[in-house]
Amino acid sequence: MNSEAQAIVEIRNLSKSYRRGSQIVPVLNKLTFDIGKGEFLALMGPSGSGKSTLLNLIAGIDKADSGTIIIGGIDITTLSESELAHWRANNVGFIFQFYNLIPVLSAFENVELPLLLTGLSRRERAEHVNVALSIVGLADRMEHYPGQLSGGQQQRVAIARAIITDPVILVADEPTGDLDRVSAREILDLMERLNAESGKTIVMVTHDPRAAEKAHVIKHLEKGVLNVHPETHF
């Protein structure tokens, strides 16, 4: 963690295991670390190392076996399902590997979707969506449907959807995993810009060392234990 940054995420003794038949497979083993406010963290590691599990736990879409995850002062491990849903809607922006846009909704409507859970009027929602799509450079494609957009454009729509509610933290699971090199670079540049200009805290899971280079901190997860990468740069 950047020693100067205030911790926005505090993880303490976090453990998680999965049941495979009668066997219990440990994935995360008493992890303890912090993520600073405005930090861009890359989580790397071999397949099955628990990176996505850790990301899901930080994002509040999975439950830990033990330990605490305090984000913005709230211990999300104590929240009920409905409280977690409400918390996610207000605090977390998601960027998925396969974009996960709703195919029957236009780019504009996909970005508008999370705002339905807020009390904003239709006009206010439209203003927010226009701004978000402008940030990701897709203001001219807002009426297009996902099927009419390239992979890179779809991921930019997904990023607009992720930032539309101005979340505390952005979580990205292999955001460039399904993109060609040029599109991947554009997406990483965009994420870097969001981190630098808007101060968004980003936690990104990636296999790609080039993607990880954009991060301030690179952590390696192996056999449920976390190591700080020597190439970490601030």
Binding site: I61, D62, R88, F94, F96, N100, L113
Partner: protein, 385 residues
Amino acid sequence: MFILKLIFKNAFRHKLRTWLTISGITIAILAFGLLRTVISTWYSGVESSSATRLITRNSISLVFFLPLSYEEKIRHVPGVKYVSRDCWFGGIYIDEKHFFPNFAVDPKNYLPLVPEFLVPDDQQAAFIRDRKGALAGRKIVEKYHWKIGDTIALKGTIFPGTWEFVLRAIYHGREKGTDETFFLLHWDYLNERLKKTSPHRADQVGFYFIGVTSPNLASEVSQSIDKMFRNSLAETLTETEKAFQLGFISMSEAIVIAIQMVSFVVIIIIMAVMANTMAMTARERFGEYAVMKTLGFSARHLAVLIFGESMIIAMIGCAAGVAATFPVAKAFGQALDNYFPSFNVATETIYMDIGAAVLVGLVAAIVPAWRAIQIRIADGLRRIG
């Protein structure tokens, strides 16, 4: 509005599957509506029966006659306003396929008992005056292109021989459901001929059609009449017209029950088809539901989406089915007007159609909605890619 738009878009994401399902619901609702109309038509005689009309028949069976001498005795029972001798004539016009009900009645006393038969005054007078005259309903008159003054020949089955009648009057039904296929002739004319051809069958009446001054007196009058003829050679059974009609229907109750069962089976089958469609739909979208949950949408939101989609498909099918029911029922009624004189789709049938469609929509969405709500986000996201 946004959610409604999303529900509509989801409903027609797989256009072929959705339209096939809607077609299935349309056919099911149409079949259900027609079967319910058959049942309601079956009971239409009961529905149109009057509370002030009684029928006195032989207590052994309707096939046994009553003496003509009973008429005056019945007329003197307190509360009785009209008594008409009545008899099922059972004549055949052309052949058995051209069936219509025909009765021998006492016109003077019968017509005041049936205010639902609207007959012009001059025609009514002509019918009463002419002993060979006949009164026929609008439907059969139009069907056989009869005109006032035409001679109509019926072949007797119960009363052998060829019987010729002159059409003197035509009645229209006061209500939409009034049976307009009756053919009425003079009981006196029938009796006159019987006296010559089969004297032992003369002066007998099939049943007495009685009008009472008030519906409240129906029970009392019935008891008085039956008491009067107790221990006689022809004991009577007097009941309201409604009970009499129900007695007839009870003879064919098994058929009515079978039709009712089939109508419900049709709905159960389409429910299974619809549930299958919704199960496939939801299974394909578990990833999307997981994404929506990730974004903060609750179980309630997902339920609204799935139930909404199911209801839209069901209600479009229902609307098309109801719309198709009217012309199909009309064609059905025309094709079978010998058996169903008034085949009209009742308002209650439409309500039942809508109720059935709502039930189909709701039941079909229960399991898919439950599974979508229960799925863990991480598991749902794994289904994508």
